[in-house]
């Protein structure tokens, strides 16, 4: 019984559902086990309810009304560093130990942001 509990405890994080906001809706994700072929310590792999595969890079994309609002987020959220993507879009790296989705969702719901979501690598459809 103890062994079973231990296995369940170990599996729980893998089976846990995360979500993020996109196009005004919550998109739920199921985490997938890391594929050997594309192992990367930073990447976490997920599948959406529609079957799309995507991986998080550990960063958050934030779109702002104005560049002036950036400091507000740097002060009020556990952000370690940021990079500018364009005039109003930034790539935030959260401090270690914080849940990426939780921070992204909190920032997304903050009235000072236009939106925020984890930075994803989305599985590309086949090239020829």
């Amino acid at each position: 019984m103890k062994k079973l509990l231990l296995i369940i405890t170990l599996l729980l994080p893998t089976l846990a559902e995360e979500y993020f906001y996109e196009f005004g809706e919550k998109v739920y994700l199921k985490e997938e086990s890391t594929r050997d072929a594309i192992k990367d310590t930073k990447l976490r792999y997920f599948q959406t309810a529609k079957g799309h595969h995507m991986a998080t890079t550990g960063d958050i994309i934030l779109k702002l009304q104005s560049f002036d609002h950036l400091n507000y987020f740097l002060k009020n959220y556990p952000i370690e560093s940021y990079k500018k993507l364009d005039q109003r879009t930034f790539l935030l790296t959260p401090q270690s130990g914080h849940n990426l989705f939780e921070i992204a969702n909190r920032i997304h719901l903050d009235s000072m942001s236009i939106y925020a979501q984890p930075n994803f690598i989305r599985k590309q459809r086949g090239k020829r």
Partner: protein, 566 residues
């Protein structure tokens, strides 16, 4: 002591020229050019002519304040010495003519050009009054089939004449300071006719290796008696088309009645009339950005058109990671490989390229890639990838660029799927994007091509057995699909990935012809010029077939439509 040798040699040459001038006692004619609006960043080309003597020309750096002394042999053996001084914004030039020619009649013209072909300043003086004033209006120049001269700017219009014939010569003052005579003829003028259209056959074409696209053309008009009547300079856009060596295998460009096309049963109508379109547009002044995972930016048939490279993930110019670079390289070739006597030609061979690598294609790197394209002047962006799952951030970014007038083209994928039924949200389906499917060498829909109501058009992408010809990684790496007709630097590629850059190039042709067009207008032009192909197609009243969209793109029709589109 070696350093003394050039000085001594120069001194000797200088003395010999002095002696020659002293003997000939030159007549001095001086001109002052005021050119307040000159930009000094470019070297200038000073062209001095004394008609009917052939033009003399030499280049100088206007930013230098110093004197020059030249001895130049004219092609008709007269020897002239030109001395000029530049100081500040005023240029002074003196033309010395040998005494034996001091009674010649003619017009002396001094022209200043920048080496980027922008005309700045000119001054002409008549040395002796002409016995006749000559009337001529050049409204059309007929040309050999391989050279197209664009004479949209009417330049010559002179009063009537009593002359019955004129000798015309057209010469090209090239940016490398070589004067090339490209045509001459004698024309008979009907009397009492004020405006006359003259057809000037160009007898001596630009060399095959000279792919100069535009130039100032000094046009000399002289009477058969040797009297110089008029000289002026017109700007002509020369579109010489000397096919690149592998064009006979580029079935998407035009149909060639050759062994290759016959052996592989290429449908004579499978092409998109690119050769015809190039007669009036080659994508000049339009920059296309290709976003892909990597590129071989040193490829022999690409680098001539590349004006920038950027890696969106490490913020460096390095786009050749060595991984998966053949795909992007081939895409770049299909839009913008130059006509340069090598390999193949892109659909917009005079367009400029920005190659942007986003190796991971993460949402963040895609944003940076689009932003780099935007801030670096791209008018067209071609993307041969997609996720079926476009992010809000990328969708918004594309819309932002669309609103700024940038045309964005996406391949629609190779899974033989109806995107509507698949219930996906692909980049190619965005309303701000031109979605592109593939047609094949049989002039039908490629079996692998995705389709759906959000796809706009199809363009050659080939079939499993016959791809479209483009550049490939140099050497033995890359594709092995040479079909025994091209070398290892080129290959046949199939997929909607290769249809998209062809369409991006055609969009550049359209924008080059009419730069004021909005992305929506470009899209309208492209779909309105499509050919309705397919034996079992069901085009509706709006001209749309769910599998073939609005049909196969036609470059020549699109460029024609663009000319008159308001």
């Amino acid at each position: 002591m070696k350093w003394l040798l050039p000085i001594l040699t120069g001194a000797l040459l200088f003395c010999s020229s002095c002696q020659k001038d002293e003997v000939q006692q030159p007549q001095v004619l001086s001109f002052t050019l005021n050119h307040d609006t000159l930009y000094y960043r470019n070297n200038l080309l000073l062209s001095t002519s004394f008609s009917p003597v052939e033009s003399l020309h030499f280049s100088m750096d206007i930013s230098q304040t110093q004197s020059y002394s030249y001895l130049v042999n004219g092609t008709n053996t007269r020897v002239k010495s030109i001395d000029e001084e530049f100081s500040g914004s005023v240029a002074t030039a003196s033309l010395f003519t040998p005494e034996m020619y001091s009674n010649s009649q003619g017009v002396v013209t001094l022209d200043l050009y920048s080496l980027d072909n922008e005309y700045y300043s000119s001054r002409s003086d008549t040395i002796t009054l002409l016995p006749h004033s000559i009337a001529i209006e050049v409204t059309n120049l007929s040309i050999s089939p391989s050279t197209i001269v664009n004479t949209e700017d009417e330049v010559f219009s002179i009063d009537s004449t009593a002359l019955s014939s004129l000798t015309l010569s057209l010469s090209l003052l090239s940016t490398d300071t070589n004067l090339l005579t490209i045509g001459d003829t004698t024309v008979h003028l009907p009397s009492q006719q004020q405006n006359h259209t003259i057809t000037l056959p160009i007898t001596t074409l630009l060399g095959k290796d000279n792919h100069q696209k535009s130039a100032f053309l000094p046009l000399t008009i002289s009477h058969s008696s040797g009297i110089v009547g008029y000289r002026d300079t017109l700007f002509l856009n020369i579109l010489s088309h000397f096919p690149d060596p592998y064009e006979p295998f580029s079935w998407h460009t035009s149909y060639e009645h050759n062994q290759f096309h016959q052996e592989f049963n290429i449908d004579p109508h499978a092409h998109i009339s690119l050769t015809e379109a190039w007669k009036s547009s080659r994508g000049e002044d339009i920059t296309i950005a290709i976003i892909d995972q990597g590129f071989e930016d040193t490829h022999e048939d690409l680098f001539g058109n590349i004006i920038g490279t950027y890696n969106a993930e490490d913020d460096t110019p390095h786009v050749n990671s060595g991984w998966n670079t053949n795909h992007g390289t081939a895409c770049a070739g299909l839009s913008s490989a130059p006509i340069n006597g090598k390999g193949v030609s892109g659909s917009a061979p005079d367009s400029k390229l920005i190659l942007i690598a986003a190796p991971s294609l993460s949402d963040a790197s895609i944003i940076k890639a689009f932003e780099y394209a935007r801030t670096n002047g791209a008018r067209v962006i071609s993307c041969s990838w997609g996720s079926y799952n476009v992010s809000q951030i990328v969708s918004d970014k594309i819309e932002e660029l669309y609103d700024e007038g940038i045309v964005i083209v996406f391949a629609c994928g190779n899974d033989s799927q109806n995107l509507d039924e698949k219930n996906v949200n692909d980049e190619s389906e965005l309303p701000t994007v031109i979605g592109v499917g593939a047609s094949n060498e049989n002039n039908g829909l490629s079996s692998y091509s995705n389709y759906g109501t959000a796809v706009d058009c199809i363009a050659p992408g080939g079939s499993y057995s016959m791809g479209v010809l483009s550049v490939d990684l140099m050497g033995s790496s890359g594709s092995n699909y040479q079909m025994e007709v091209v070398d290892n630097n080129y290959a046949f590629h199939s997929g909607t990935s290769f249809s998209a850059p062809i369409v991006a190039g055609v969009a550049a042709l359209v924008l080059s012809k009419n730069p004021a067009l909005s992305p929506e207008q470009v899209r309208t032009i492209l779909i309105n010029s499509c050919e309705k192909i397919g034996n079992n197609a069901h085009y509706n009243a709006q001209g749309f077939d769910v599998m073939r969209a609005y049909g196969k793109i036609n470059a020549a029709k699109a460029v024609t439509l663009a000319q008159s589109y308001r």
